[in-house]
């Protein structure tokens, strides 16, 4: 009985809310109401994020209580609570939050990005070993040409690659394919969105 009651309400809210926002983007005069609906969505998104973080907290609290990987979960919870408390108290652009950002978050993020250089090089080397197909070779040859065409190597530049071949690959071959991929992704997003708007897909649990 509850299911019969809740199912159409949730679907109706999604169809009406989403439909209104879509119509308001096309018809002038509905800006104020659209702004209100968008504000509700922003509030819900913020609350959903907080619920997710509350769930993260609960999972690691449970792990500490059960003695399962206690050190890691303790580090996570202390870091989470301390950063949350200090940032909330001082403001996100104040001294200590900015210190945390530039001395903890930024070095780790940049170093993980730097580590990606080794991972990607290894991945390319494995591709040579495992993918002996025309497409694999196309990928690797293009990559090799682009790397050589990126600029001088040990002070030596190959003008034919840097000034002719690499620009052709980047400006025509890759751009054309990326445009096709982008249009394909956008068409897929539109279809997925429209399926939600007509109630065919109900990712909200209706």
């Amino acid at each position: 009985m509850t299911r019969r009651f809740s199912l159409p309400i949730a679907a109706a809210v999604a169809v009406l809310g989403g439909g209104f926002v879509l119509v308001s983007l096309l018809m002038p005069g509905l800006e104020e109401m659209r702004s209100r609906v968008l504000n509700w969505a922003v509030l819900l998104a913020a609350l959903a994020l907080l619920l997710g973080l509350a769930n993260l907290f609960q999972v690691h609290w449970q792990k500490i209580r059960e003695g399962n990987q206690r050190l890691y979960s303790t580090v996570l919870l202390i870091a989470m609570l301390a950063t949350f408390g200090i940032t909330l108290w001082e403001g996100s652009r104040a001294g200590i939050p900015m210190w945390i950002f530039s001395h903890i978050q930024l070095p780790i993020e940049t170093s993980l990005m730097a580590g990606l250089a080794a991972s990607l090089t290894l991945a390319a080397a494995r591709l040579v070993q495992r993918r002996n197909t025309p497409l694999g070779y196309t990928f690797l040859v293009t990559l090799f040409i682009l790397l050589l065409g990126s600029g001088p190597l040990f002070g030596q530049e190959i003008p034919f690659l840097t000034q002719r071949v690499a620009p052709i690959i980047n400006n025509f071959l890759a751009t054309g394919a990326m445009r096709g991929l982008l249009i394909g992704v956008a068409l897929g997003s539109m279809l997925t969105g429209l399926r939600v708007l007509i109630g065919a897909d109900r990712p909200y649990g209706g």
Partner: protein, 238 residues
């Protein structure tokens, strides 16, 4: 007041080394660093969300209402509170279903924005850019000036771009028609274009890979430079 500068530098250097040690495989200190990173990021995100959205949009208006200085009309405040309470119902398994309308509104509005964004932000500009591929002004100037090789180059590059875009799209075309008792097959034209498109996709992925690799190398150089300068600073070297 910010903590001591040297401590901050040493901490950043130690964390950088730990993160870079990921290249040699996983170890407990790396995991401690990753959990620290997740904790700090999650705490920061939560504080920003509370400060920038929750307090000004929900908590302060409710307090204003309670203290007799309303800043929002009661209907608007009621809707915001109702939506927040419905979503909070998701916390408990028994009441989770009550939160469906709130998540439905979020999904509906998100879907509408995705449709509008995809149409206005991607499809229309990309189709317009593909339509304007043939640089007509340059082509006219080249033809008027007798630079026929340049004119051919303009036409050839335009055709190449269109072919790359169309064949890439054809690669993701899975429509097929059945022919009697035979298995459904794509038409010969779409099949050929899709085959060509797979090569263009490989080239595009290589270009993307190249871009990410260069960005990662730039980050690696920056980190190594930071580690070297921190070490020199700590050792008192000029």
């Amino acid at each position: 007041m910010a903590p001591d500068l040297n401590f901050g530098l040493v901490l950043a250097a130690v964390l950088s080394l730990l993160a870079l040690s990921y290249v040699f495989g996983e170890h407990p200190l790396l995991r401690v660093m990753l959990y620290l990173f997740i904790g700090v990021s999650a705490g920061y995100a939560a504080a920003v969300v509370v400060q920038d959205v929750l307090l000004p949009q929900l908590v302060f208006p409710v307090l204003d209402e309670l203290f007799g200085t309303p800043t929002l009309d009661l209907g608007e405040l009621g809707i915001r509170m109702a939506l927040a309470l419905l979503l909070l119902a998701k916390l408990f398994p028994k009441t989770a279903r009550l939160g469906n309308p709130a998540t439905a509104l979020l999904a509906g509005v998100g879907a509408a924005l995705a449709v509008a964004g995809a149409a206005q932000g991607t499809i229309l500009p990309q189709v317009a850019a593909t339509r304007n591929i043939f640089d007509v002004t340059t082509l006219q100037l080249a033809l008027q000036g007798g630079y026929y090789l340049d004119a051919i180059e303009v036409i050839f590059s335009g055709l190449l771009l269109v072919l790359a875009s169309v064949s890439t799209l054809a690669y993701f075309h899975f429509g097929a028609t059945s022919r009697g008792k035979q298995e459904p097959q794509r038409s010969l034209l779409v099949d050929s274009l899709a085959w060509l498109g797979s090569f263009f996709i490989a080239i595009a992925l290589a270009a993307l890979f190249h871009g990410v690799l260069l960005a990662a190398l730039a980050a690696l150089v920056e980190r190594l430079d930071f580690l070297q300068s921190t070490l020199r600073l700590l050792l008192g070297m000029p």
